[in-house]
């Protein structure tokens, strides 16, 4: 067993937790402001594709990273306008964004790189395997600070809990929500960039493979709070790392099924949602479009 649980495993857990954390912190901003963001998956894909393509073209991962941030924010803006301006169902809009982003990168890579859904390899020297980990690590205290110590954070939380009260106090509910959703796109974009130019060296079709949803689960498991969400991401990253390590490992002559390790995050999230261990209370106005004079 000891050759499974070693420093390598912890490092791998950290690497696997990073994109989850970036997306989950993005989701945190959006959801604390009252806008459900199940589009994290799509936003990550937008970031991943943009980062790989732009880095390949421009030859600089930094340009690629910034483009990924912008792409994430741009796609998030679509979600924001649909949900805030046109009061679309936030879950439905998020689902549409997810479907859109399985199609768009594939369509573009087919057109520009004549491939079926992937970008060309980015050269080794243009990869950023560590920077996003550092960014994610720094973002946790920063998010905590912004949320609890700045006017922006106070207003953000108020808008997600009781938009009417925020409005009555002179805070523009819609403005705060737009800002929050755009931030969520930017952060998920970084998470996506890490997938394509950090962990690997190219974009492949649907490379986020459900990480946006796990990030969402981590956010719920972490009760919509920055530090707890980080711990949840680390836990989920760790289970994934273990699942990878266990692949093909025999224990007492029997192959250990990794599937049971893989489902841990999902089962835990359901258990938390049902209130079996502690309660995870969502921001009260989550999912409800704000409308004056109703």
């Amino acid at each position: 067993m000891s050759d499974i649980f070693n420093v390598g495993l912890l490092l791998s857990a950290l690497r696997l937790a990073t994109p989850l954390l970036l997306a989950a912190l993005g989701g945190l901003f959006s959801e604390r402001a009252g806008v459900i963001n199940i589009a994290l998956e799509g936003l990550m894909l937008a970031g991943a594709f943009t980062a790989a393509s732009v880095t390949w073209y421009a030859g600089s991962p930094w340009v690629g990273l910034v483009s990924a941030v912008l792409a994430g924010a741009l796609i998030a803006a679509v979600h924001a306008v649909a949900c805030i301006r046109y009061r679309a169902d936030q879950v439905v809009s998020g689902t549409a964004i997810n479907i859109l982003l399985t199609g768009v990168p594939a369509l573009l890579s087919g057109a520009f790189f004549l491939s079926s859904g992937s970008t060309p390899q980015v050269p080794q020297e243009n990869l950023i395997p560590w920077t996003p980990i550092v960014i994610a690590g720094l973002l946790v205290p920063l998010t905590y600070y912004v949320l609890y110590y700045t006017p922006f954070g106070l207003r953000l939380r108020a808008v997600g809990e009781n938009p009417e009260a925020a409005d009555a106090a002179g805070v523009s509910v819609n403005l705060m929500r737009y800002a929050a959703v755009l931030i969520s796109g930017a952060l998920a974009g970084i998470g996506g960039a890490y997938l394509s130019i950090g962990q690997s060296s190219l974009f492949t079709r649907n490379m986020s493979a459900g990480r946006g949803f796990i990030a969402l689960a981590a956010l719920i498991f972490g009760k919509w709070r920055p530090v707890q969400t980080m711990l949840a991401c680390l836990l989920f990253g760790f289970t994934e790392a273990v699942a990878i390590q266990l692949q093909g490992v025999r224990f007492g002559g029997e192959e250990i099924p990794t599937q049971f390790v893989q489902i841990i995050p999902y089962v835990l999230t359901i258990v938390v949602l049902a209130g079996f261990i502690g309660t995870s209370r969502a921001p009260r106005a989550l999912g409800i479009p704000y409308q004056k004079e109703k």
Binding site: T150, F152, N162, A165, A166, A168, K292
Partner: protein
């Protein structure tokens, strides 16, 4: 200080404010009184930028102003304490107070400065509250102080208070009035929305009386009295007296013993209520809305979770306290709910489908197995629509397309069609046009004369006094008196309703 000129506001069909003129002098306490739905809150929400008026003008300190959002109002020195507090439950007192007007820079809220200012304000107006407490741990009285501090922190010179005493105990009301007087001494202007006349007389300098979306009176408090205000408040342009023979009550149908309902979210609850309703009589319940009427009717209809109900409800000698809504319906208890949009109708369903709600699971709505007899349902719906004069008489229209009066007639038709032994009916004519009111009243008397026991709740004093054979008055979740509606005057009942009678049990 503040002047509303010809403010008009429409919500769909309803004219909530019809050319309202209100003038508030600086340094005074100005009361705006009126029944529920008179348009008081709407007018003040317009002044605070929560709603935008369709037409009219707002003048602040002699200058016409555009107030589009609360932010605009705050900048002009207007603050408002809403009836339902606008506080974020999960945040602290200090956070709520500074929200939207945070001291310090964009990078950091200066908490020390905030706490200092809050302490200073608390001392100045004697509004003691712990700034670090979380809102949901506070009593409503304390929460109200937070709301006041919120407005004062924003340097409000004019405070609009919407039904501020509704949530307070009599002792708290005294304290609260002391605070208001202190504010007036400091040069603040206060507008207080209320329907409690005793309070108006105790605290205000001027009174504006509103009824049916219009201003019907402006008086100096010193020059008026409760009787005059009550008359202005409840008086009707058209007197709707119901011609009805004397009741001939039969056996007791409903017997309620020490019924209590613990308060749910934001409700007051019901305390130790006992009374009887006999066959062939209409028992009215008068009271200002929100004094436990909703809980009473819903508990009798079986719509309150059993865990919140104590006491005993007997229907024709049978204990029904723990039975489900459907069982009570089966036994012959019909219910016309107070809010037809929330409870009584499926607005997107057509009239046929609405005509079977509650009866949809059995004959004649169901023909074979689980199958609904659609043509039969439609035929019976059409018959009912004609009997109860629902217009337009088209069973295929969605309920949403009907006016309030016709929606109400549909519900009444459905519930009367049950052949009930007991009818629970709440606010039967709210938002209903004059013609439909008369029709509904006539139908109620007819049903009574057929031997049905009727429990009628209405916020319209006129309505309960003219329909009821016996009248109970409810205040703060208790029955505070029974009067003979033919003998008692509106002023007497009004005083009981507003907690001014000797029967006040508080």
């Amino acid at each position: 200080m503040l002047e509303l000129r010809a403010i008009t506001k429409r919500f769909g069909e309803v004219l909530a404010n019809d050319h309202i003129d209100i003038r508030v002098e600086p340094g005074t306490i100005h009361a705006i009184v009126g029944e529920n739905g008179a348009g008081k809150s709407t007018a003040m929400r317009i002044a605070y930028g929560f709603y935008t008026a369709d037409s009219g003008e707002i003048v602040v300190d002699g200058e016409p102003r555009q107030i589009q959002t609360p932010h605009d109002a705050i900048r002009l020195g207007i603050g408002m304490v809403h009836q339902h507090f606008m506080l974020v439950d999960t945040m602290t007192v200090a956070e709520n107070i500074v929200l939207g007007a945070e001291p310090g820079s964009a990078a950091a809220i200066d908490l020390t400065k905030a706490l200092g200012e809050i302490r200073a304000l608390s001392n100045e107006f004697r509004l003691s509250v712990d700034p670090n407490a979380v809102i949901h741990d506070l009593s409503v009285g304390q929460q109200q102080r937070v709301e006041l501090l919120k407005a004062l922190y924003r340097r409000a010179r004019l405070l609009i208070l919407d039904e501020p005493t509704a949530v307070l105990t009599p002792q708290e009301v005294e304290e609260f009035f002391a605070i208001l007087r202190r504010m007036r001494e400091q040069g603040k202007t206060v507008i207080i929305i209320t329907h409690k006349l005793s309070e108006v007389l105790a605290i205000s300098d001027d009174v504006t009386v509103m009824r049916d979306g219009r201003v019907v009176g402006r008086v100096k408090t010193k020059e008026t009295n409760a009787a005059e205000l009550a008359r202005m408040m409840v008086g009707r342009d058209v007197l709707l007296r119901v011609e009805k023979p004397d009741a001939r009550p039969g056996e007791t149908v409903l017997s309620v013993q020490r019924l209590s309902v613990t308060a749910g979210g934001g409700e007051r609850g019901l305390r130790d209520v006992s009374f009887q309703v006999r066959a062939g009589e209409i028992v009215g319940v008068a009271g200002v809305e929100g004094n436990g009427q909703t809980e009473l009717i819903e508990a009798l209809a079986g719509l309150v979770p059993a865990a919140r109900v104590s006491g005993e409800i007997r229907f024709r000698e049978r204990d029904v306290t723990r039975t489900s809504a459907r069982e009570r319906y089966e036994l012959g208890i019909a219910h016309v709910p107070e809010d037809r949009h929330r409870r009584g109708l499926l607005l997107d369903f057509d009239l046929s489908e609405n005509s079977i709600l509650g009866l949809h699971y059995r004959r004649p709505a169901v023909s074979a197995g689980p199958l609904l007899d659609l043509s039969g349902i439609r035929a019976r719906a059409l018959e009912m629509i004609q009997d109860f004069d629902v217009r337009p008489a088209n069973p295929d229209l969605p309920a949403r397309a009907l006016s309030g009066g016709n929606q109400q007639k549909l519900i009444i038709g459905r519930e009367f069609g049950l052949g009930p032994k007991l009818l629970l009916i709440s606010q039967p004519t709210r938002g209903v046009d004059i013609g439909a009111i008369e029709f509904i009243h006539r139908k109620l008397v007819e049903l009574r004369d057929e031997g049905c026991a009727i429990l009628l709740v209405s916020a319209e004093l006129e309505e309960v006094t003219s329909l009821a054979d016996r009248l109970l008055v409810i205040y703060h979740g208790r029955l505070v008196g029974e009067v003979d509606p033919r003998q008692a005057t509106q002023e007497e009942i009004g005083l009981l309703m507003t907690g001014g009678g000797k029967a006040n049990a508080e």
